[in-house]
Protein backbone atom coordinates (compact mmCIF):
# COMPACT_ATOMS: atom_id res chain seq x y z
CA UNK A 1 0.00 0.00 0.00
CA UNK A 2 1.22 3.46 -0.89
CA UNK A 3 0.17 6.97 -0.26
CA UNK A 4 0.77 9.03 -3.39
CA UNK A 5 0.97 12.76 -2.88
CA UNK A 6 0.95 14.97 -5.96
CA UNK A 7 1.40 18.72 -6.18
CA UNK A 8 -0.07 20.03 -9.43
CA UNK A 9 -1.08 23.24 -11.19
CA UNK A 10 -4.59 24.29 -10.16
CA UNK A 11 -5.95 24.42 -13.68
CA UNK A 12 -4.88 20.85 -14.39
CA UNK A 13 -7.00 19.31 -11.65
CA UNK A 14 -9.87 18.52 -13.97
CA UNK A 15 -7.58 16.78 -16.46
CA UNK A 16 -5.86 14.79 -13.74
CA UNK A 17 -9.19 13.66 -12.34
CA UNK A 18 -10.32 12.51 -15.78
CA UNK A 19 -7.14 10.51 -16.29
CA UNK A 20 -7.43 8.96 -12.85
CA UNK A 21 -11.01 7.89 -13.51
CA UNK A 22 -9.93 6.34 -16.80
CA UNK A 23 -7.32 4.41 -14.83
CA UNK A 24 -10.01 3.28 -12.41
CA UNK A 25 -8.61 5.30 -9.56
CA UNK A 26 -11.70 6.91 -8.07
CA UNK A 27 -10.80 7.72 -4.52
CA UNK A 28 -8.82 10.78 -3.69
CA UNK A 29 -8.50 13.73 -1.35
CA UNK A 30 -7.63 17.21 -2.50
CA UNK A 31 -6.66 20.52 -0.94
CA UNK A 32 -5.19 23.85 -1.87
CA UNK A 33 -1.59 24.64 -0.90
CA UNK A 34 1.09 27.18 -1.62
CA UNK A 35 4.26 25.93 -3.15
CA UNK A 36 7.76 27.18 -3.60
CA UNK A 37 9.56 25.42 -6.41
CA UNK A 38 11.69 26.27 -9.36
CA UNK A 39 8.91 28.23 -10.98
CA UNK A 40 9.40 31.97 -10.79
CA UNK A 41 7.13 33.56 -8.24
CA UNK A 42 4.59 36.20 -9.04
CA UNK A 43 5.26 39.82 -8.31
CA UNK A 44 2.48 41.57 -6.51
CA UNK A 45 2.39 45.32 -5.95
CA UNK A 46 0.49 47.03 -3.16
CA UNK A 47 0.58 50.80 -3.08
CA UNK A 48 3.87 50.88 -4.85
CA UNK A 49 5.48 48.19 -2.70
CA UNK A 50 6.69 45.33 -4.84
CA UNK A 51 6.43 41.96 -3.21
CA UNK A 52 7.75 38.87 -4.86
CA UNK A 53 5.25 36.40 -3.59
CA UNK A 54 7.40 33.36 -4.07
CA UNK A 55 4.63 31.05 -3.00
CA UNK A 56 2.36 29.92 -5.79
CA UNK A 57 -1.08 28.38 -5.51
CA UNK A 58 -1.06 24.65 -6.16
CA UNK A 59 -3.37 21.71 -5.69
CA UNK A 60 -2.29 18.80 -3.52
CA UNK A 61 -3.74 15.36 -4.20
CA UNK A 62 -3.55 12.50 -1.75
CA UNK A 63 -4.31 9.11 -3.21
CA UNK A 64 -3.94 5.85 -1.34
CA UNK A 65 -3.62 2.79 -3.52
CA UNK A 66 -2.69 -0.84 -3.35
CA UNK A 67 0.68 -1.72 -4.83
CA UNK A 68 -0.69 -2.98 -8.12
CA UNK A 69 -2.30 0.40 -8.79
CA UNK A 70 0.76 2.53 -8.22
CA UNK A 71 2.00 2.63 -11.78
CA UNK A 72 -1.39 3.32 -13.27
CA UNK A 73 -1.91 6.15 -10.82
CA UNK A 74 1.45 7.72 -11.51
CA UNK A 75 0.88 7.54 -15.25
CA UNK A 76 -2.53 9.08 -14.95
CA UNK A 77 -1.22 12.00 -12.95
CA UNK A 78 1.71 12.51 -15.30
CA UNK A 79 -0.58 12.51 -18.33
CA UNK A 80 -3.13 14.83 -16.82
CA UNK A 81 -0.82 17.32 -15.14
CA UNK A 82 2.00 17.78 -17.63
CA UNK A 83 2.33 20.97 -19.61
CA UNK A 84 6.13 20.79 -19.96
CA UNK A 85 6.78 24.06 -18.17
CA UNK A 86 8.31 24.69 -14.76
CA UNK A 87 5.72 24.51 -12.09
CA UNK A 88 4.10 21.30 -13.26
CA UNK A 89 4.87 19.84 -9.89
CA UNK A 90 5.98 16.66 -8.21
CA UNK A 91 4.71 13.31 -7.08
CA UNK A 92 5.85 11.79 -3.80
CA UNK A 93 5.36 8.13 -2.94
CA UNK A 94 5.16 7.15 0.70
CA UNK A 95 4.90 3.70 2.18
CA UNK A 96 1.64 3.02 3.97
CA UNK A 97 1.16 0.35 6.58
CA UNK A 98 -2.52 -0.03 6.86
CA UNK A 99 -5.87 1.42 5.95
CA UNK A 100 -9.29 1.31 7.63
CA UNK A 101 -12.71 2.03 6.25
CA UNK A 102 -14.57 3.76 9.04
CA UNK A 103 -18.03 2.77 7.91
CA UNK A 104 -17.38 -0.99 7.86
CA UNK A 105 -14.28 -1.40 9.94
CA UNK A 106 -12.62 -3.24 7.06
CA UNK A 107 -8.83 -3.23 7.16
CA UNK A 108 -5.98 -3.59 4.75
CA UNK A 109 -6.10 -4.00 0.98
CA UNK A 110 -9.83 -4.18 0.75
CA UNK A 111 -10.25 -0.90 2.61
CA UNK A 112 -8.05 1.09 0.27
CA UNK A 113 -10.16 0.81 -2.89
Amino acid sequence: MKMIIAIIQPHKLEDVKQELYKANVNLLTVNEVLGHGRQKGITEVYRGVRESGNLLRKIRLEICVNDDFVDATLNAIMTGARTGETGDGKIFILPMEDCLRIRTGEKGKVAVG
Partner: protein
Protein backbone atom coordinates in the same frame (compact mmCIF):
# COMPACT_ATOMS: atom_id res chain seq x y z
CA UNK B 1 15.02 60.76 -12.03
CA UNK B 2 11.68 59.43 -13.07
CA UNK B 3 10.37 60.89 -9.87
CA UNK B 4 11.76 64.28 -10.77
CA UNK B 5 9.70 64.27 -13.89
CA UNK B 6 6.69 63.54 -11.74
CA UNK B 7 7.43 66.49 -9.57
CA UNK B 8 7.64 68.68 -12.60
CA UNK B 9 4.33 67.42 -13.82
CA UNK B 10 2.93 68.10 -10.42
CA UNK B 11 3.88 71.69 -10.58
CA UNK B 12 2.98 72.09 -14.22
CA UNK B 13 -0.36 70.46 -14.01
CA UNK B 14 -2.47 73.01 -12.17
CA UNK B 15 -1.06 75.76 -14.32
CA UNK B 16 -1.75 73.94 -17.53
CA UNK B 17 -5.21 73.27 -16.33
CA UNK B 18 -5.59 76.86 -15.44
CA UNK B 19 -4.77 77.84 -18.99
CA UNK B 20 -7.65 75.69 -20.05
CA UNK B 21 -9.64 77.14 -17.22
CA UNK B 22 -9.03 80.67 -18.33
CA UNK B 23 -9.73 79.78 -21.94
CA UNK B 24 -12.79 77.66 -21.46
CA UNK B 25 -14.24 77.58 -18.05
CA UNK B 26 -14.70 81.24 -17.39
CA UNK B 27 -17.21 81.80 -20.14
CA UNK B 28 -19.04 78.67 -19.07
CA UNK B 29 -18.98 79.86 -15.54
CA UNK B 30 -20.22 83.26 -16.41
CA UNK B 31 -23.02 81.61 -18.28
CA UNK B 32 -23.83 79.97 -15.01
CA UNK B 33 -23.77 83.20 -13.15
CA UNK B 34 -25.94 84.89 -15.68
CA UNK B 35 -28.45 82.11 -15.75
CA UNK B 36 -28.30 81.83 -12.00
CA UNK B 37 -31.72 83.23 -11.14
CA UNK B 38 -33.39 79.93 -12.09
CA UNK B 39 -36.28 80.71 -9.83
CA UNK B 40 -38.04 77.89 -11.60
CA UNK B 41 -36.20 75.06 -9.91
CA UNK B 42 -37.33 74.03 -6.45
CA UNK B 43 -35.34 72.43 -3.69
CA UNK B 44 -37.55 69.34 -3.54
CA UNK B 45 -36.81 68.37 -7.12
CA UNK B 46 -33.15 69.24 -6.72
CA UNK B 47 -32.95 67.14 -3.59
CA UNK B 48 -34.51 64.15 -5.33
CA UNK B 49 -32.32 64.46 -8.40
CA UNK B 50 -29.14 64.81 -6.34
CA UNK B 51 -29.85 61.69 -4.35
CA UNK B 52 -31.05 59.87 -7.46
CA UNK B 53 -27.75 60.67 -9.13
CA UNK B 54 -25.89 59.32 -6.13
CA UNK B 55 -28.05 56.18 -6.17
CA UNK B 56 -27.27 55.54 -9.83
CA UNK B 57 -23.57 56.06 -9.17
CA UNK B 58 -23.78 53.40 -6.45
CA UNK B 59 -25.15 50.93 -8.97
CA UNK B 60 -21.77 50.58 -10.63
CA UNK B 61 -20.05 49.25 -7.50
CA UNK B 62 -23.22 47.21 -6.98
CA UNK B 63 -22.82 45.73 -10.43
CA UNK B 64 -19.13 45.14 -9.74
CA UNK B 65 -20.05 42.90 -6.81
CA UNK B 66 -22.95 41.27 -8.63
CA UNK B 67 -20.52 40.27 -11.36
CA UNK B 68 -17.43 39.87 -9.19
CA UNK B 69 -18.94 37.18 -6.98
CA UNK B 70 -19.70 35.05 -10.03
CA UNK B 71 -16.24 34.79 -11.50
CA UNK B 72 -13.45 32.60 -10.28
CA UNK B 73 -11.42 33.80 -7.32
CA UNK B 74 -8.48 34.66 -9.50
CA UNK B 75 -10.48 37.10 -11.63
CA UNK B 76 -12.57 39.15 -9.24
CA UNK B 77 -10.25 42.15 -9.16
CA UNK B 78 -10.25 42.17 -12.93
CA UNK B 79 -14.02 42.62 -12.86
CA UNK B 80 -14.03 45.18 -10.05
CA UNK B 81 -11.30 47.13 -11.80
CA UNK B 82 -13.20 47.31 -15.07
CA UNK B 83 -16.28 48.59 -13.26
CA UNK B 84 -14.32 51.20 -11.34
CA UNK B 85 -12.58 52.31 -14.49
CA UNK B 86 -15.96 52.93 -16.09
CA UNK B 87 -16.66 55.28 -13.19
CA UNK B 88 -13.39 57.10 -13.77
CA UNK B 89 -13.08 57.17 -17.54
CA UNK B 90 -16.67 57.65 -18.58
CA UNK B 91 -17.27 60.38 -15.99
CA UNK B 92 -14.53 62.36 -17.68
CA UNK B 93 -15.57 61.45 -21.21
CA UNK B 94 -19.09 62.62 -20.41
CA UNK B 95 -18.00 65.97 -19.06
CA UNK B 96 -15.51 66.60 -21.84
CA UNK B 97 -17.64 65.69 -24.85
CA UNK B 98 -19.99 62.78 -24.20
CA UNK B 99 -22.78 64.94 -22.86
CA UNK B 100 -22.50 67.28 -25.80
CA UNK B 101 -22.63 64.47 -28.34
CA UNK B 102 -25.70 63.12 -26.60
CA UNK B 103 -27.73 66.17 -25.72
CA UNK B 104 -26.46 69.26 -27.53
CA UNK B 105 -28.62 70.41 -30.41
CA UNK B 106 -27.46 68.49 -33.46
CA UNK B 107 -28.94 66.42 -36.20
CA UNK B 108 -31.18 63.36 -35.92
CA UNK B 109 -28.22 61.10 -35.45
CA UNK B 110 -25.80 62.83 -33.10
CA UNK B 111 -25.63 65.88 -30.88
CA UNK B 112 -23.53 68.94 -31.62
CA UNK B 113 -20.59 70.53 -29.88
CA UNK B 114 -22.43 73.28 -28.05
CA UNK B 115 -21.97 71.63 -24.66
CA UNK B 116 -18.41 70.51 -25.16
CA UNK B 117 -16.43 70.76 -21.93
CA UNK B 118 -19.75 71.67 -20.32
CA UNK B 119 -19.76 74.97 -22.11
CA UNK B 120 -23.24 76.45 -21.84
CA UNK B 121 -24.19 73.90 -19.20
CA UNK B 122 -24.88 75.96 -16.14
CA UNK B 123 -27.61 76.51 -13.64
CA UNK B 124 -30.21 77.70 -16.12
CA UNK B 125 -33.23 75.40 -16.51
CA UNK B 126 -32.30 72.19 -18.29
CA UNK B 127 -33.61 72.07 -21.86
CA UNK B 128 -35.11 68.64 -21.23
CA UNK B 129 -36.18 69.31 -17.65
CA UNK B 130 -36.92 72.97 -17.04
CA UNK B 131 -37.70 72.31 -13.40
CA UNK B 132 -34.07 71.55 -12.55
CA UNK B 133 -30.79 73.26 -13.40
CA UNK B 134 -29.11 72.10 -16.57
CA UNK B 135 -26.01 70.91 -14.74
CA UNK B 136 -28.06 68.63 -12.52
CA UNK B 137 -29.71 67.02 -15.53
CA UNK B 138 -26.24 66.48 -16.97
CA UNK B 139 -25.02 64.90 -13.72
CA UNK B 140 -27.92 62.49 -13.56
CA UNK B 141 -27.36 61.45 -17.16
CA UNK B 142 -23.64 61.02 -16.45
CA UNK B 143 -24.33 58.16 -14.09
CA UNK B 144 -26.27 56.36 -16.84
CA UNK B 145 -23.39 56.82 -19.22
CA UNK B 146 -21.07 55.30 -16.60
CA UNK B 147 -22.99 52.14 -15.88
CA UNK B 148 -23.89 51.23 -19.44
CA UNK B 149 -20.44 50.18 -20.64
CA UNK B 150 -19.91 48.50 -17.28
CA UNK B 151 -22.84 46.20 -18.01
CA UNK B 152 -21.02 44.75 -21.01
CA UNK B 153 -18.18 43.53 -18.78
CA UNK B 154 -20.20 40.44 -17.95
CA UNK B 155 -19.81 39.13 -21.47
CA UNK B 156 -16.04 39.05 -21.74
CA UNK B 157 -15.18 38.65 -18.05
CA UNK B 158 -12.14 36.53 -17.19
CA UNK B 159 -10.35 36.98 -20.51
CA UNK B 160 -10.14 40.58 -21.77
CA UNK B 161 -6.96 42.63 -21.71
CA UNK B 162 -7.32 45.65 -19.45
CA UNK B 163 -5.79 48.11 -21.90
CA UNK B 164 -8.11 46.90 -24.63
CA UNK B 165 -11.05 47.21 -22.27
CA UNK B 166 -10.33 50.88 -21.62
CA UNK B 167 -9.97 51.82 -25.25
CA UNK B 168 -12.93 49.71 -26.26
CA UNK B 169 -15.26 51.17 -23.68
CA UNK B 170 -14.16 54.71 -24.45
CA UNK B 171 -14.85 54.20 -28.15
CA UNK B 172 -18.06 52.36 -27.43
CA UNK B 173 -19.34 55.10 -25.17
CA UNK B 174 -18.60 57.67 -27.83
CA UNK B 175 -19.79 55.84 -30.91
CA UNK B 176 -22.59 53.67 -29.58
CA UNK B 177 -23.86 55.06 -26.30
CA UNK B 178 -23.76 58.76 -27.15
CA UNK B 179 -25.54 58.42 -30.49
CA UNK B 180 -28.22 56.10 -29.10
CA UNK B 181 -28.73 58.45 -26.19
CA UNK B 182 -29.18 61.25 -28.69
CA UNK B 183 -31.59 59.23 -30.81
CA UNK B 184 -33.90 58.47 -27.94
CA UNK B 185 -33.53 61.27 -25.41
CA UNK B 186 -31.50 64.05 -26.98
CA UNK B 187 -33.79 65.13 -29.79
CA UNK B 188 -32.73 62.45 -32.28
CA UNK B 189 -34.79 60.60 -34.84
CA UNK B 190 -36.24 57.97 -32.51
CA UNK B 191 -37.46 60.59 -30.12
CA UNK B 192 -39.07 62.40 -33.01
CA UNK B 193 -40.63 59.12 -34.09
CA UNK B 194 -42.21 58.93 -30.65
CA UNK B 195 -40.26 56.03 -29.16
CA UNK B 196 -40.88 55.73 -25.43
CA UNK B 197 -37.97 54.75 -23.24
CA UNK B 198 -38.51 55.96 -19.71
CA UNK B 199 -35.19 55.14 -18.10
CA UNK B 200 -33.10 53.37 -20.68
CA UNK B 201 -34.44 50.11 -22.08
CA UNK B 202 -33.01 50.99 -25.47
CA UNK B 203 -30.29 53.42 -24.47
CA UNK B 204 -28.89 51.35 -21.62
CA UNK B 205 -29.99 47.73 -21.74
CA UNK B 206 -30.42 46.96 -25.41
CA UNK B 207 -27.20 48.76 -26.23
CA UNK B 208 -25.14 47.10 -23.48
CA UNK B 209 -26.84 43.73 -23.87
CA UNK B 210 -26.35 43.41 -27.59
CA UNK B 211 -22.82 44.74 -27.35
CA UNK B 212 -22.33 41.93 -24.84
CA UNK B 213 -23.60 39.36 -27.30
CA UNK B 214 -21.31 40.61 -30.04
CA UNK B 215 -18.19 40.73 -27.89
CA UNK B 216 -18.91 37.36 -26.29
CA UNK B 217 -19.15 35.79 -29.72
CA UNK B 218 -16.06 37.43 -31.17
CA UNK B 219 -13.79 37.03 -28.18
CA UNK B 220 -14.59 33.32 -27.93
CA UNK B 221 -14.94 30.95 -25.04
CA UNK B 222 -12.91 30.96 -21.89
CA UNK B 223 -10.29 28.26 -21.71
CA UNK B 224 -10.95 25.53 -19.16
CA UNK B 225 -14.18 27.24 -18.35
CA UNK B 226 -15.75 23.91 -17.52
CA UNK B 227 -13.22 23.36 -14.76
CA UNK B 228 -14.95 25.17 -11.98
CA UNK B 229 -17.60 27.50 -13.29
CA UNK B 230 -18.92 27.75 -9.76
CA UNK B 231 -19.23 31.30 -8.47
CA UNK B 232 -16.43 31.93 -6.01
CA UNK B 233 -18.41 34.13 -3.64
CA UNK B 234 -22.18 34.12 -4.05
CA UNK B 235 -22.82 36.41 -1.08
CA UNK B 236 -20.97 39.14 -3.00
CA UNK B 237 -23.36 38.58 -5.88
CA UNK B 238 -26.31 38.91 -3.53
CA UNK B 239 -24.83 42.06 -2.03
CA UNK B 240 -24.50 43.44 -5.52
CA UNK B 241 -28.10 42.54 -6.31
CA UNK B 242 -29.23 44.29 -3.14
CA UNK B 243 -27.31 47.46 -4.00
CA UNK B 244 -28.62 47.34 -7.56
CA UNK B 245 -32.22 47.02 -6.40
CA UNK B 246 -31.68 49.96 -4.05
CA UNK B 247 -29.92 52.09 -6.66
CA UNK B 248 -32.47 51.27 -9.32
CA UNK B 249 -35.02 53.43 -7.53
CA UNK B 250 -32.80 56.38 -8.43
CA UNK B 251 -32.41 55.05 -11.96
CA UNK B 252 -36.11 54.64 -12.68
CA UNK B 253 -37.93 56.96 -10.29
CA UNK B 254 -35.19 59.55 -10.84
CA UNK B 255 -35.89 59.42 -14.56
CA UNK B 256 -39.06 61.39 -14.02
CA UNK B 257 -36.57 64.22 -13.35
CA UNK B 258 -38.72 65.54 -10.53
CA UNK B 259 -40.11 64.41 -7.18
CA UNK B 260 -43.61 64.04 -8.55
CA UNK B 261 -46.37 61.55 -9.20
CA UNK B 262 -44.60 59.97 -12.13
CA UNK B 263 -41.60 59.31 -9.92
CA UNK B 264 -43.86 57.58 -7.41
CA UNK B 265 -45.44 55.50 -10.09
CA UNK B 266 -42.06 54.53 -11.53
CA UNK B 267 -40.82 53.62 -8.05
CA UNK B 268 -43.77 51.32 -7.56
CA UNK B 269 -43.46 49.65 -10.97
CA UNK B 270 -39.79 49.08 -10.31
CA UNK B 271 -40.38 47.33 -7.04
CA UNK B 272 -43.24 45.23 -8.34
CA UNK B 273 -41.40 44.10 -11.44
CA UNK B 274 -38.29 43.20 -9.45
CA UNK B 275 -40.33 41.23 -6.93
CA UNK B 276 -42.39 39.44 -9.54
CA UNK B 277 -39.37 38.56 -11.63
CA UNK B 278 -37.36 37.31 -8.64
CA UNK B 279 -40.22 35.09 -7.56
CA UNK B 280 -40.88 33.84 -11.08
CA UNK B 281 -37.28 32.87 -11.69
CA UNK B 282 -37.22 30.95 -8.41
CA UNK B 283 -40.44 29.17 -9.32
CA UNK B 284 -39.18 28.20 -12.75
CA UNK B 285 -36.05 26.72 -11.21
CA UNK B 286 -38.16 24.94 -8.66
CA UNK B 287 -40.21 23.32 -11.41
CA UNK B 288 -37.35 22.74 -13.77
CA UNK B 289 -34.38 21.86 -11.56
CA UNK B 290 -36.08 20.75 -8.39
CA UNK B 291 -34.91 23.61 -6.17
CA UNK B 292 -34.93 27.39 -6.31
CA UNK B 293 -31.49 28.97 -6.08
CA UNK B 294 -30.26 32.22 -4.57
CA UNK B 295 -28.39 33.02 -7.77
CA UNK B 296 -31.51 32.47 -9.81
CA UNK B 297 -33.56 34.68 -7.54
CA UNK B 298 -31.00 37.47 -7.69
CA UNK B 299 -30.73 37.09 -11.45
CA UNK B 300 -34.49 37.27 -11.75
CA UNK B 301 -34.60 40.44 -9.68
CA UNK B 302 -31.99 42.11 -11.87
CA UNK B 303 -33.75 40.94 -15.03
CA UNK B 304 -37.00 42.38 -13.73
CA UNK B 305 -35.34 45.68 -12.91
CA UNK B 306 -33.69 45.87 -16.32
CA UNK B 307 -36.85 45.00 -18.17
CA UNK B 308 -39.18 47.39 -16.40
CA UNK B 309 -36.73 50.23 -16.96
CA UNK B 310 -38.12 51.57 -20.25
CA UNK B 311 -41.70 51.13 -19.09
CA UNK B 312 -41.45 52.14 -15.45
CA UNK B 313 -42.89 55.64 -15.70
CA UNK B 314 -45.65 54.73 -18.15
CA UNK B 315 -47.36 51.67 -16.70
CA UNK B 316 -49.65 50.63 -13.89
CA UNK B 317 -49.14 47.85 -11.41
CA UNK B 318 -50.62 45.13 -13.59
CA UNK B 319 -48.33 46.03 -16.41
CA UNK B 320 -45.42 45.91 -13.97
CA UNK B 321 -46.45 42.46 -12.82
CA UNK B 322 -46.86 41.20 -16.35
CA UNK B 323 -43.43 42.51 -17.20
CA UNK B 324 -41.90 41.00 -14.07
CA UNK B 325 -43.34 37.56 -14.64
CA UNK B 326 -42.73 37.38 -18.35
CA UNK B 327 -39.21 38.71 -18.22
CA UNK B 328 -38.02 35.91 -15.99
CA UNK B 329 -39.50 33.34 -18.33
CA UNK B 330 -37.94 34.95 -21.37
CA UNK B 331 -34.54 35.55 -19.79
CA UNK B 332 -34.46 32.11 -18.22
CA UNK B 333 -34.97 30.65 -21.67
CA UNK B 334 -32.31 32.93 -23.15
CA UNK B 335 -29.78 31.98 -20.52
CA UNK B 336 -30.68 28.30 -20.45
CA UNK B 337 -31.44 27.59 -24.12
CA UNK B 338 -30.08 30.27 -26.41
CA UNK B 339 -26.62 30.30 -24.89
CA UNK B 340 -26.00 26.53 -24.98
CA UNK B 341 -27.58 26.29 -28.43
CA UNK B 342 -25.47 28.97 -30.03
CA UNK B 343 -22.47 28.10 -27.89
CA UNK B 344 -21.24 31.61 -27.20
CA UNK B 345 -19.67 32.14 -23.80
CA UNK B 346 -21.46 35.12 -22.28
CA UNK B 347 -19.67 34.65 -18.97
CA UNK B 348 -22.14 36.38 -16.70
CA UNK B 349 -25.17 36.50 -18.99
CA UNK B 350 -24.97 40.18 -19.78
CA UNK B 351 -26.84 39.49 -22.99
CA UNK B 352 -29.30 36.99 -21.58
CA UNK B 353 -30.35 39.38 -18.84
CA UNK B 354 -29.82 42.90 -20.16
CA UNK B 355 -30.04 42.41 -23.91
CA UNK B 356 -33.11 40.22 -23.85
CA UNK B 357 -34.59 42.09 -20.90
CA UNK B 358 -34.06 45.49 -22.50
CA UNK B 359 -35.57 44.34 -25.76
CA UNK B 360 -38.55 42.70 -24.08
CA UNK B 361 -39.14 45.71 -21.88
CA UNK B 362 -39.01 48.12 -24.79
CA UNK B 363 -41.62 46.11 -26.65
CA UNK B 364 -43.80 45.68 -23.56
CA UNK B 365 -43.76 49.43 -23.10
CA UNK B 366 -45.58 49.55 -26.42
CA UNK B 367 -48.25 47.30 -24.95
CA UNK B 368 -48.76 48.52 -21.41
CA UNK B 369 -48.08 52.25 -21.54
CA UNK B 370 -51.02 54.38 -20.50
CA UNK B 371 -51.61 58.09 -20.57
CA UNK B 372 -53.57 57.69 -17.36
CA UNK B 373 -50.31 57.00 -15.58
CA UNK B 374 -48.20 59.52 -17.40
CA UNK B 375 -49.92 62.12 -19.47
CA UNK B 376 -46.62 63.05 -21.10
CA UNK B 377 -46.41 59.55 -22.64
CA UNK B 378 -48.60 57.74 -25.14
CA UNK B 379 -50.97 54.84 -24.83
CA UNK B 380 -49.72 51.38 -25.76
CA UNK B 381 -51.44 48.68 -27.78
CA UNK B 382 -53.46 47.45 -24.82
CA UNK B 383 -54.78 50.94 -24.36
CA UNK B 384 -55.92 51.17 -27.92
CA UNK B 385 -52.84 52.47 -29.69
CA UNK B 386 -51.20 49.75 -31.80
CA UNK B 387 -49.08 52.36 -33.50
CA UNK B 388 -46.99 52.81 -30.38
CA UNK B 389 -46.09 49.13 -30.39
CA UNK B 390 -44.85 49.49 -33.94
CA UNK B 391 -42.80 52.50 -33.00
CA UNK B 392 -41.27 50.59 -30.12
CA UNK B 393 -40.34 47.76 -32.48
CA UNK B 394 -38.68 50.15 -34.86
CA UNK B 395 -36.79 51.81 -32.02
CA UNK B 396 -35.67 48.55 -30.46
CA UNK B 397 -34.52 46.90 -33.63
CA UNK B 398 -32.83 49.99 -34.99
CA UNK B 399 -30.85 50.13 -31.76
CA UNK B 400 -30.07 46.43 -31.98
CA UNK B 401 -28.85 46.75 -35.54
CA UNK B 402 -26.77 49.82 -34.89
CA UNK B 403 -25.25 48.41 -31.72
CA UNK B 404 -24.35 45.09 -33.25
CA UNK B 405 -22.73 46.63 -36.29
CA UNK B 406 -20.74 49.35 -34.58
CA UNK B 407 -19.70 47.18 -31.65
CA UNK B 408 -18.32 44.54 -33.99
CA UNK B 409 -16.33 47.11 -35.91
CA UNK B 410 -14.96 48.70 -32.76
CA UNK B 411 -13.99 45.33 -31.34
CA UNK B 412 -12.10 44.42 -34.49
CA UNK B 413 -10.40 47.78 -34.52
CA UNK B 414 -9.15 47.44 -31.00
CA UNK B 415 -8.14 43.87 -31.71
CA UNK B 416 -5.96 44.93 -34.61
CA UNK B 417 -4.17 47.62 -32.66
CA UNK B 418 -3.93 46.16 -29.17
CA UNK B 419 -5.24 42.62 -29.20
CA UNK B 420 -8.36 42.20 -27.12
CA UNK B 421 -7.77 38.88 -25.46
CA UNK B 422 -5.08 38.03 -22.92
CA UNK B 423 -2.82 35.14 -23.84
CA UNK B 424 -3.34 31.64 -22.49
CA UNK B 425 -0.87 31.87 -19.67
CA UNK B 426 -2.40 35.03 -18.31
CA UNK B 427 -5.88 33.59 -18.55
CA UNK B 428 -4.79 30.48 -16.66
CA UNK B 429 -3.05 32.57 -14.02
CA UNK B 430 -6.08 34.82 -13.65
CA UNK B 431 -6.48 38.47 -14.50
CA UNK B 432 -5.90 39.70 -10.95
CA UNK B 433 -2.29 38.68 -10.99
CA UNK B 434 -1.58 38.88 -14.68
CA UNK B 435 -3.24 42.23 -15.42
CA UNK B 436 -3.13 43.95 -12.03
CA UNK B 437 -0.28 42.48 -9.98
CA UNK B 438 -2.66 41.73 -7.14
CA UNK B 439 -4.46 38.96 -5.33
CA UNK B 440 -7.96 39.44 -4.00
CA UNK B 441 -7.51 37.25 -0.92
CA UNK B 442 -4.61 35.85 1.03
CA UNK B 443 -4.54 32.07 1.43
CA UNK B 444 -2.36 31.76 4.48
CA UNK B 445 -1.13 34.37 6.84
Amino acid sequence: MKRFIFLLIVLACPFLMFAADAALAVPAVSAVAVAAPAAASNSGDISWMLISSALVLLMTPGLAFFYGGLVRRKNILGVLMQCFMAMAVISLQWVLFGYSLSFAPGNGFIGGLKYIGLNNVGMEPAPYAPNIPHQLFMIFQMMFAVITPALIIGAFAERMKFSAYIIFSLLWATLVYNPLCHWVWGGGWLQKLGVMDFAGGIVVHISAGFAALVTAIIIGKRRNHTDSPTPHNLPFTVLGAGLLWFGWFGFNAGSSLAANNVAISAFLSTNIAAAAAALTWAVIEWINMGKPTMLGTATGAVAGLATVTPASGFIGIWGAMAIGVSTSIICYLAVGMLKPKFKYDDTLDAFGVHGIGGLWGTLMTGLFASKLINSAGSNGLFFGNPHQFLVQCVGAFAAVGYTVAVTAVLYKLVDVFLGVRVDDKKEVLGLDVSEHNERAYTLIE
